[in-house]
């Protein structure tokens, strides 16, 4: 199994899909010569040319909307939204159009488009370049939402997203681009809607997304040294949600922590907590703990930024609370 970075994994999924079908193409801001603001699309222009690796003006509405129009005509476009904060500019097209065209047409149309984007704190980009906005989109019927945390997952899930007939909002985490992980020799599709159990445990389940998967794994190691066995589960797909795997894990451990980098209040974790309390109420031995960012925009000064977003220790403290050790 080769080792590649998360960035290379994203690129590999895009390039392989483009090699296999002329219907797949990518467009976005600064993705051609520059190779994308995060370097994800480097080398694609040379291989596929500027028609299929298409630089766009700074026009998120038209970029998203043109991708939707192309998808309605049978293409499989990948629209790169440079920072997920800019999804707000494209939101009309994603929420009112992509998500609803199939429905409003009574099933006549499909919109096989992927809106790839990235964000995340940890490098002081400030309040407009690092938000985590996945909960905005999981609330919209008609969209699928994916947030992968490892090279293997990001490659296999992006592959599935490109080949899915529905609009997919695909979140990548900025700080994960450099991490390495082993991947299968040949791309294997990972089913959309299937969680991954990263680590098995007996006492507490931590359900984490994005960067927090890695923080949760660190916290789990520390907890183990204190005699607490932690199971770490990454839903990977936020919509549809693999409720079965999450509930089964909590029924086994009887305790749950939900962790994401996005603001805790009204976050994705609130929905997960609701699913768990309803489906595993009789199995729960402690209140479900939630870990996320404090209710503040992301500040610039590194010390403030570190204070706002959660880290491994926040997950650990939540785990300890569930077993009455804090």
């Amino acid at each position: 199994m080769p080792e590649i970075t998360y960035r290379e994994a994203v690129r590999d999924a895009i390039a392989t899909a483009m090699r296999e079908s002329d219907d797949v193409f990518i467009m976005g801001e600064d993705i051609a010569e520059m190779g994308g603001s995060m370097g994800v699309t480097q080398g694609l222009l040379e291989e596929f040319g500027k028609e299929r690796v298409r630089n766009t003006p700074i026009s998120e509405m038209a970029l998203a909307g043109a991708a939707i129009g192309a998808a309605m005509q049978g293409m499989r476009p990948i629209a790169e939204i440079m920072y997920e904060d800019f999804l707000t500019l494209a939101a009309e097209q994603i929420v009112n159009q992509a998500a609803k065209v199939r429905y409003m047409s009574g099933g006549q149309l499909t919109v096989p488009v992927v809106f790839r984007t990235q964000g995340g704190a940890g490098w002081s980009p400030g309040a407009q370049h690092a938000q985590q906005l996945e909960s905005w989109f999981v609330h919209i019927p008609g969209l699928k939402v994916i947030f992968a945390s490892t090279p293997e997952d990001v490659r296999g899930l992006l592959w599935s997203a490109i080949h899915d007939d529905n609009p997919v909002v695909f979140f990548e985490h900025r700080t994960l681009y450099g991490i390495k992980g082993s991947v299968p020799e040949k791309i294997e599709a990972i089913p959309i809607g299937k969680a991954r159990v990263h680590r098995e445990g007996e006492d507490v389940t931590v359900i984490a997304t994005g960067r927090l998967v890695h923080e949760a794994l660190k916290a789990a190691e520390e907890a183990e040294s204190q005699g607490i066995s932690v199971e770490v589960v990454d839903p990977r797909t936020l919509q549809p949600l693999d409720e079965e795997t999450l509930v089964a894990s909590v029924k086994k451990t009887n305790r749950a922590v939900v962790a994401h980098e996005a603001v805790t209040r009204m976050g994705f974790g609130a929905e997960v907590a609701s699913v768990l309390q309803y489906q595993a109420f009789d199995w729960l031995d402690a209140p479900i703990e939630r870990v996320g960012a404090k209710f503040a925009p992301l500040p610039f000064a590194p010390v403030m930024e570190q204070f706002v977003v959660p880290h491994a220790d926040d997950v650990l403290q939540a785990v300890l609370r569930t077993v009455g050790k804090s």
Binding site: A62, G65, A66, I68, A70, M72, E92
Partner: protein, 324 residues
């Protein structure tokens, strides 16, 4: 050769009676929609295109097989002109499964993909980027097709309009953007919503070719559309068509139009009714016109019967068609 091209660029005289018939069908259809709405039979918001029949028919007649359109909230005329049967349209307005969107869309979300209708849009300007994207697809696939987006003067102020047209011109995609300028953005007159008195000037900002035509004259509309479509289809880039149009009725059915001078619509109707204009040009006698009228009125009546006899969706069908 020049003669052939000339013929193709204007509506053949022999077709004009049929064009009149189609415009009259739209008129009678819309009047029936008003009547049935007021009778309490039709749910939702309804915006009729009474007075704007020439733009829909003139543009859609100029299209080739394979060309696609996107429409606006005022979509009934475009939808009929693009070939959807009045029965299917009326059934949609009644929320029936036989409707062109199977009851999922309604008046503002009319789709007929088989006939090249990519959908009406209830968000002003919402469909324009889709036209750029559809045209991009035709360009990338080397298909001789054109994507045509209708929009109103109110849409010329929204971001999607500017972004979609800018991108279309930048990439030289085969798109035609048809402005139906009826001088009203809902209740707001053009003088209050745009700094420009000539909205074709908008095209200049993108370096896009613009053509102006009288939107109340179906022959002029057809000619402009043919010219624009040929330009776009031959790879010379998108075209902006500015049609000077008139909205005879309110923004929506039931609109008391307190914002509009009382006699304005009446005066415009006397001088700029596209149906009367063509009828005069053809020199139709009262009997001949009455015959056409009877024919289309019967079609419209039949569409109401068809719709009323249609099937209500099961409530739980609301959970279908969300995902492919």
């Amino acid at each position: 050769m020049a003669k052939v091209e000339e013929r193709r660029s204007t509506l053949p005289k022999g077709d004009l009676k049929d064009v009149l018939r189609e415009m009259l069908l739209i008129r009678r259809f819309e009047e029936k929609v008003e009547e049935r709405f007021r009778a309490g039979e039709l749910p939702g918001f309804l915006h009729v295109a009474i007075g704007q029949e020439a733009s829909a028919v003139g543009v859609c007649r100029a299209l080739e097989d394979g060309d696609v359109i996107s429409s606006t909230h005022r979509a009934h005329g475009h939808t009929l002109a693009k070939g959807t049967h009045p029965n299917e349209l009326m059934a949609e307005l009644y929320g029936k499964t036989e409707g062109c969107s199977h009851g999922y869309g309604g008046s503002m979300h009319l789709f007929d993909v088989q006939r090249g209708n990519m959908g009406a849009n209830a968000v002003i300007g919402g469909g324009l980027p889709h036209i750029t994207g559809a045209a991009l697809t035709f360009q990338m696939r080397g298909e001789p097709r054109v994507a045509v987006g209708f929009f109103g003067d109110g849409a010329t102020n929204i971001g999607t309009f500017h972004e979609a047209l800018n991108m279309a011109q930048l990439w030289q995609v085969p798109a035609v953007f048809v402005l139906e300028d009826n001088k009203w953005a809902e209740s707001t007159p053009e003088s209050q919503h745009s700094p420009l008195r000539d909205l074709s000037e908008r095209a200049k900002a993108f370096g896009m070719k613009a053509i102006k035509a009288d939107g109340q004259d179906v022959e002029a509309v057809f000619k402009a559309a043919r010219q624009a479509l040929e330009h776009a289809r031959s790879g010379k880039g998108p075209v902006f068509i500015h049609l000077d149009c008139v909205r005879f009725h309110g923004h929506y059915i039931g609109d008391p139009q307190v914002y509009r001078p009382k006699d304005e619509a009446k005066e415009l109707r006397e001088t700029r009714d596209p149906i009367e204009t063509l009828r005069d040009r053809l020199g139709l006698s009262d009997d001949e016109f009455a015959e056409l009228d009877t024919e289309v009125t019967e079609i419209v009546e039949a569409s109401v019967e068809f719709a009323k006899a249609g099937t209500d969706p099961a409530p739980e069908d609301a959970l279908k068609n969300i995902y492919a």
